[in-house]
Amino acid sequence: MAGLMTFLGFSSGLDVSWNLHDSDGVPRGSVLVTGDKAGELPLYIGDQGVSGVVTCEVKKKKIDHVGIKIEFRGEIELVYDRGNHYDFITMEHQLETEPGVLEGSTMFEFSFDNAEKPFESYNGMNVRLRYFLKLTIMRKFAANITREHELWVINYPSQQLSPKNPSIKMEVGIEDCLHIEFEYFRSKFHLNDVILGKIYFLLVAINIKYMEIALIKKESTGSGHNVYNESDTLAKFEIMDGAPVRGEVVPIRIFLDGFDLTPTYNSIHSKYSVKYYLNLVLVDEEDRRYFKQTDIQLFRLPPENSKREGFAQLEDPDKQPPSKRRKKKKSSKSKSKK
């Protein structure tokens, strides 16, 4: 590839290598990122300073320049708006202010001590939020030479999350056909959490084939008239096989470890949001689907706080099924024929 580039004249005969380290000089850890820009990227947490050494090696001849700068940038790219980048952060350092010549190998140290990183990196379906370092060698009679270096940023919530983590409890059904009550014991989960819950069958007059919970990610981009919604079913998790009878209680336990998740994002830079839903789906023998979607919140916890003790036990197994005081609530359940 490099040869081809050279041949076509795009190559400037310049190799740039990055060596990032913490403020105390320790090399950065890295993270494996999937998606559009898959690969191993240096990982930054929160507002950690970004510093390091960039080495320029000129292969063939010397390069004349009128100055060299390095930028730290955060920008949002939207699919429907290709080409337009919304920079939400730009920081710049001049490495060479005077015109000069680059020859052989030259090292530049740089440091963005207060690199502000308000959002997490994100590789979505229609949107990408990226942080990168950009090296620019400015030239007088030729195009500037630029080199970018991607970073991956995650944030742990700065303020203490509200300790309230209410359960989600809902009774749904279709009159004289199906009544169930389901309960997720919590509504907020960290990314390595376990979703626990139970489903109580109060009335079953249809032949259920199976029940599953789909974990759905919804990404909405844009605003106003130009809102693009994209949803992706991350996983389908079968939680029941066969037809239960009235009175049965089926447990839910889903480990989130296995899925590629991000925290819930609310209106990032007014450009996009990412939300997660649990969709409880019942499928009957005629392949009709009955479902109820519930949104949940995901958040990121530092690894030391998300460790589980022992295995995730179901809570209070003897918990009584929902009381008899049931109002005939009109179903909120959608029914769709496949």
Binding site: N207, M240, D241, V245, V249, A312, Q313
Partner: protein, 788 residues
């Protein structure tokens, strides 16, 4: 291999599934060998995914399950070795990432069991989790097998007395696990009968029945727990089991589980919890064959009591044992009254178990047997004559019940004491009654059971109705091919009637006679003859001097013969009269003897013996009998002899006449003892012989051979009479003359058989003359020429 297209299809599906399971299982093993646990788990999950099928019948599903669970074993073995680099907890979570529930849970159980085995966690935590998580599989067949896998996987890991998995757990946790699993499995099992299906309902139930052992296995597991004391069992476990059995309301499940429960737990436990158990049984759904359940329970308890007599004889001892019987028999009554639907044959089978219990455990308690037959009576009364559709079955069961005590006691007198036993026999329909009483009679004969009282015999013979007499309810023809056998059987019973007291014995026979004489012409031929002989034999053996009794006995014999006679059996009656007469004569009862001869034998002779041959035979017998008798007064004897002579001379054939008269001549012998009339008698004797000779003489010449034969007989008899009865030698001489004439007339060769006979006779006379001078006076030389 079946040709049923459905079966073929099933077989095909099964084979395919097994092939996939084996392939994936093989993949898993390869991965395990490479110590790549995650890949192995993936392969394992796709292997178990084959178990997600809904197409196989439970039986074929079971076959598939077995193959898959074997592969799972190699997975657990590998995990237990522990060099896979994951902690048990990590592994336990890892397998839960599997998106499909069935493979996920199989893996969870497999890993969970390894987790317990590692002892890193109290068994109860895992138990609790597994039992709870498996609720996710609600499909009956799949759920059932999944839980069965759970049950099998934890089998060795149960905290129990002496178990190595007791840390943080107790036997109660094992009990909880098993009971919850039992309950859930049962629910699924019961549900299996509903829902759509591609096989017929009957077949579905049959397949479902086969799965019963999977659920029952839980009860066996419970019973195997050493820590399950009678206390825990009584206060907790049993209640929970019974609650589930009661609650599920399913006929098949209740039936199988109750039976399994009874078989699984120790009989001692049952004994201790009997009331609870019995109560529950009574409440089972209609349609459950509770009779068989109770029957089983009774059998088990009997066996237990029998094996552990010591346990039940100390402390409360025998009393307690008896209580068990009474408890159970009361309960059986309760079952009958409280259950809406009581199937009589089943009820009878149940009573049968009760009966066995008595014989096993309380062999001495004859009254219990009677209680049981009272139950039988109550249940079959009004149902034995085709009133209900199951009549045949009822009769079959009743028959079994009746035969048991017969075989057991080997003594029918015991049975005769049981009023309810005989009551039951009496309400049986004719054919059945006949069968049972035949067996009864046979039993008595086979065991040589002596019947020693009038009451017994009376009762027995009343009971033997269909054999002894024509019954009102008789069906079909009694006189079939078996008749002969039956009557011989009855006849042989007469030898069983016995009492050392002569009078009682006579009374017994008299009672028997009453019964027999009502039996109709065909029967009495069989029965009365032996009765008469039995009576006469008794008389002869008795040695009693009590004339009144003897008379009574003889009268009985006489009456019996008269009955036979009036039944149209002249020949046999005639002979029996002669026997009776002989007996009477020997006992010094001349009058009776005389009456037997004249009023009995001779009357029959005169009136009913018709054929010349029979008449001749009869007379010969009569003469022989008369000859034996020496009890008569001279006059009586004279009359008898004369009458005999007259009768003989009236025989139709000269040949018969001649022979009979020859025989009669001997009768005058005894008359010689009578002194003064000696001469007369001797003369009569001579007369008879002469007359006989004349008769022979007068016969057609055609009968030369016969005539020679007769005259030779006469001559021989004459030889005898000379020696024995002082026959005048001249009479013999004249007989020889007659003979000589005969031979000459007939031109008989002196080398013919008769001539040789004659020659021998003469030689004999010659020999005898050296001992008795009377023979010397016989003129034997007149035949010299004939033989020269």
């Amino acid at each position: 291999m079946s040709n049923d297209p459905f079966e073929i299809e099933q077989q095909k599906l099964l084979n395919e599934a097994i092939q996939v399971v084996n392939e994936q299982g093989q993949c898993m093993k390869i991965e395990l060998d490479r110590n790549s646990l995650r890949s192995a788990l993936t392969a394992c999950a796709s292997m178990i995914s084959e178990l997600r099928t809904s197409l196989l019948t439970p039986r074929n599903y079971y076959a598939l399950y077995l193959v898959a669970s074997q592969h799972l074993n190699s997975l657990t073995e590998h995990i237990e070795m522990g060099d896979h680099g994951l902690s048990m907890n990590e592994l336990y979570e890892l397998v839960q990432l599997c998106g499909n529930i069935l493979p996920r849970l199989y893996l969870l159980i497999a890993v969970g069991s390894c987790y317990i085995k590692s002892k890193e966690i109290p068994a109860k935590d895992i138990f609790h989790d597994l039992v709870e998580m498996t609720k996710g599989v609600q499909h009956p067949t799949r759920g059932l097998f999944l839980r069965s896998f759970l049950s099998d996987s934890t089998r060795e890991l149960l905290p129990d007395r002496g178990s190595e998995y007791n840390r943080g757990s107790t036997v109660n946790d094992s009990i909880d696990l098993i009971l919850t699993n039992f309950t859930e499995m049962n629910k699924l099992w019961v549900r299996m009968q509903h829902g759509k299906s591609f096989i017929s309902q009957a077949r579905k139930e049959a397949e479902r029945k086969q799965l019963g052992s999977l659920i029952g296995k839980n009860l066996q597991r419970l019973a195997e727990l050493e820590g399950l004391t009678i206390g825990i069992y009584q206060s907790d476990v049993l209640t929970r089991i019974l609650k589930q059995i009661d609650k599920c309301g399913d006929v098949l499940a209740q039936q199988i589980l109750m039976e399994t429960l009874i078989l699984a737990f120790s009989d001692e436990y049952h004994l201790r919890t009997l009331p609870t158990l019995l109560d529950t049984v009574l409440k089972l759904t209609d349609g459950v064959n509770i009779q068989s359940i109770v029957g089983l329970l009774i059998e088990r308890l009997s066996a237990y009591i029998k094996e552990n007599p010591s346990k039940s004889t100390h402390s409360q001892g025998v009393e307690e044992e008896k209580d068990i019987f009474l408890v159970m028999s009361d309960y059986v009554v309760q079952v009958a009254s409280e259950r809406d639907y009581v199937d009589t044959p089943d009820m009878l089978r149940l009573i049968g178990s009760l009966l066995n219990m008595v014989f096993e455990c309380f062999p001495g308690e004859i009254p219990y047997v009677d209680i049981i037959f009272d139950l039988v009576y109550v249940h079959i009364d009004g149902k034995t004559r085709g009133e209900t559709s199951d009549c045949d079955e009822i009769l079959r069961e009743t028959r079994k019940l009746l035969l048991v005590p017969m075989e057991t006691f080997q003594n029918i007198t015991t049975l005769l004491d049981l009023s309810n036993y005989t009551k039951v026999i009496e309400i049986l329909p004719y054919e059945e009654r006949k069968y049972v009483v035949t067996r009864l009679a046979q039993n008595a004969v086979d065991n040589d059971t002596q019947l020693t009282s009038v009451e017994e015999v009376d009762l027995l013979l009343s009971l033997l109705g269909p054999l002894v007499r024509d019954c009102d309810d008789k069906t079909g023809n009694d006189y079939d091919e078996d008749f002969d056998e039956e009557q011989n059987l009855v006849a042989s019973m007469i030898s069983l009637f016995y009492n050392p007291e002569f009078e009682t014995h006579i009374n017994i026979l008299s009672t028997a006679h009453e019964h027999f004489s009502a039996g109709g012409i065909k029967r009495i031929t069989y029965t009365l003859v032996p009765l008469v002989f039995s009576t006469l034999q008794l008389i002869q053996k008795s040695g009693t001097q009590d004339k009144t009794l003897l008379r009574k006995a003889l009268k009985l014999a006489g009456t019996a013969v008269t009955s036979l006679h009036s039944a149209g059996k002249p020949d046999i009656s005639f002979r029996l009269y002669l026997h009776a007469a002989l007996a009477a004569g020997k006992l010094g009862l001349p009058q009776m003897s005389y009456d037997f001869l004249t009023k009995g034998a001779l009357t029959i002779y005169d009136e009913e013996i018709a054929s010349p041959k029979n008449r001749f035979d009869a007379m010969i017998l009569f003469v022989a009998a008369l000859k034996e008798l020496d009890c008569f007064s001279h006059d009586s004897y004279d009359t008898l002899v004369n009458q005999t002579a007259v009768t003989c001379s009236r025989l139709l054939h000269p040949e018969h006449q001649a022979r009979a008269l020859t025989a009669t001549a001997g009768l005058f012998v005894s008359a010689l003892d009578y002194g003064e009339n000696q001469f007369v008698e001797a003369k009569l004797m001579k007369d008879k012989l002469s007359k006989a000779a004349k008769l022979v003489n007068a016969m057609e010449p055609d009968y030369q051979e016969l005539k020679e034969e007769l005259i030779l007989e006469m001559l021989d008899y004459g030889v005898y009479l000379v020696g024995a009865n002082n026959l005048d030698p001249t009479t013999l001489s004249s007989l020889i003359t007659v003979t000589k004439n005969f031979f000459e007339e007939g031109k008989t060769s002196n080398t013919s058989a008769h001539a040789i006979h004659l020659k021998k006779t003469l030689k004999r006379i010659n020999q005898l003359s050296s001992e008795n001078e009377a023979y010397g006076e016989v003129d034997i030389y007149q035949l010299k020429d004939f033989f020269s």
